[in-house]
């Protein structure tokens, strides 16, 4: 009997206490914002879409090796000793033509493991988060600044240079060989 009356009293009392809590919340201002017009200010260290500053990239491949999901693809071509690719922003001399630098942003897991190994800090995460596309292929970002003809040209140059070097080496070796029997004689 006592439990019965206690149940009744508790039922009414706790409901009223709960109602008081929700009533107070009727008058607190709302915590939501009107999204497309007002956006939440993002902190400075936020990790959203990747960006690569190709002027600084030396083609070292560290970011591609650090990525756990293999979303960065880099192909480089060695430059000829006569060509001057310029300096990076912290004074290093660039030695490789970067012919392909693709980041598949759809695969990126935003872990930031590629940012830390970069020696020139050219790859970093921006605060852009509204970059949806209609076609999936548009999500493969190509950062390389060389066009494909230029890339082919660089490669051809390199092959020609290597071939010349080989030919020179072969000629020098042959000359040495011819000299040797001449010395012997």
């Amino acid at each position: 009997m006592r439990e019965y009356l206690q149940n009744t009293w508790l039922g009414i009392y706790t409901v009223l206490v709960g109602m008081k809590v929700t009533f107070k919340h009727l008058f607190t201002p709302s915590v939501t914002i009107q999204y497309p017009e007002v956006k939440v200010p993002l902190p400075e260290r936020v990790r959203n879409r990747l960006y690569v500053n190709m002027d600084d990239c030396i083609g070292c491949d560290q970011c591609s090796r650090a990525c756990p999901v293999s979303c960065i693809e880099i192909e480089t071509v060695k430059s000829l000793p006569t060509e001057d690719l310029g300096l990076t922003s912290n004074g290093k001399k660039k030695a490789l033509w970067v012919t392909k630098f693709d980041i598949d942003i759809a695969k990126c897991c935003f872990c930031q493991l590629c940012v830390f190994p970069c020696p020139t800090d050219c790859i970093y995460m921006t605060n852009v988060y509204e970059y949806s596309e209609f076609e999936r292929d548009n999500l493969i970002y190509k950062f390389a600044t060389l066009t494909s003809e230029e890339a082919v040209e660089k490669k051809a140059n390199l092959e020609k240079f290597n071939a010349e070097k080989e030919a020179q080496k072969a000629a020098a070796a042959k000359a040495k060989e011819e000299q040797k029997p001449a010395d012997k004689e």
Partner: protein, 370 residues
């Protein structure tokens, strides 16, 4: 004599109340449930096999995605395991910050658990209040490491970033803001008569069943057993802090019912606040990245390290063969082991109670399926 057979009801993978993609096959007789069989595997992503192809430090973002609601705990466990294998001693500053982050994450994870528990029962308002509080925690962590949910913050040998200059101030503000919120939650939900009617004396987990099945975390502590890894097997510097371990006492029903597990979670949030208060003013100076090795190549051997995740005991068993890739990483996920208890708990209750019991065990399918 009539031959009766039990009806098989399928609470399919897509359901608003199962916390993820879990399929429950119920054998019911009228309204009473006779047997529950969970079917898993809908979220299996081959985490353990994947680890064998990654280097040790590349595994850390993958561990985030196991229990995605309490990601810092997962990172913590893995980092401790590899550090033990390699014999690295991290600086004091790193230890303090790791503990503060882990306790903040514990509060955030319990907020989700309590909010969705209330929402399953029908009280939709506490769900929104608790998520609003979780936003504060997530923005504190976002200031420091840049991400809100999958942090990749606790690295092997240190942390990825040093804390933001505003971290201490914002955490203290949060601690002061959060204490009245727990009181408000108590008023609105915990002692509400209807909530007590729905959760007390439901899903009683006896002590020996809990121990035999290997339950851990609030599921175990709700049955009255005072077992917390932060006391029993202290890792990091937990032995320097003073906090209590809440256990279920059967205040509104029997010991080990759903209300007790809920109550343990609410009180654990208070104890986490206590730990944060003790730690926040005493963070020593130092460099958080000084102990991070250049190349992580542990010696040959095995290690098992366990941490107290908000859902239970998370364990990592790592076999290393001396190369840069681990040979085997095995995860002992707390939700996977706790889910087994569901079969024992559900016998003889109504169908409407199954949801309540599942919500009180608090599983995350990312861990269960890995």
């Amino acid at each position: 004599m009539m031959k009766t057979e039990h009806m098989v009801l399928n609470m399919g993978p897509q359901h608003p109340s199962t916390h993820g993609v879990l399929r429950l096959e119920l054998e019911i007789e009228g309204e009473l449930v006779r047997k529950v069989t969970p079917h898993l595997g809908y979220l299996h992503r081959c985490f353990e096999k994947h680890c064998e192809a990654m280097q040790y430090n590349q595994v850390v973002p993958y561990t985030d995605r196991l229990d995605y609601l309490a990601a810092i705990g997962n990172n913590f466990g893995y980092a401790i395991a590899v550090e033990r294998l390699m014999g690295i001693q991290v600086p004091e500053r790193v230890e303090y910050i790791r503990i503060i982050m882990a306790e903040l994450q514990r509060i955030a994870s319990h907020l989700v658990a309590l909010g969705s528990f209330g929402a399953d029962i029908g009280a939709l308002t506490p769900f929104l209040y608790l998520f609003r509080d979780r936003e504060h925690i997530l923005s504190i962590i976002e200031d420091t490491c840049g991400a809100r949910m999958l942090y990749n913050y606790i690295w092997i040998g240190g942390l990825s970033h040093d804390i933001h200059p505003d971290f201490v101030r914002k955490t203290k503000e949060f601690v002061n803001y959060f204490k009245p919120t727990i009181v408000e939650l108590d008023n609105l939900l915990s002692y509400n008569k209807i909530f007590i009617e729905r959760t007390a004396n439901i899903g009683i987990l006896p002590v020996d069943t809990a121990i035999n099945f290997g339950a851990s975390g609030p599921t175990l502590r709700g049955s009255g057993i005072k077992f917390d890894l932060r006391r029993e097997d202290p890792y990091s510097i937990y032995d320097r802090f003073d906090f209590e371990i809440p256990v279920g006492k059967g205040l509104q029903g029997t010991i080990g019912d759903c209300w007790d597990r809920y109550y343990v979670r609410v009180r654990e949030m208070e104890q986490s606040l206590r730990i944060i208060e003790q730690a926040i003013d005493h963070i020593p100076e130092g460099d958080v990245q000084s102990a991070i090795p250049k190349r992580i190549k542990p010696p040959k051997g095995t290690v098992y390290a366990r941490v107290e995740n908000p859902r239970g005991e998370l364990g990592y068993f790592i076999i290393s063969d001396g190369s840069v890739n681990p040979f085997r990483v095995k995860v002992r996920a707390p939700s996977f082991v706790n889910l087994e208890v569901l079969g024992e708990l559900c016998k003889g209750y109504l169908v409407a109670d199954i949801i309540v019991i599942l919500g009180s065990i608090d599983i995350v399918l990312g861990e269960v399926d890995r």
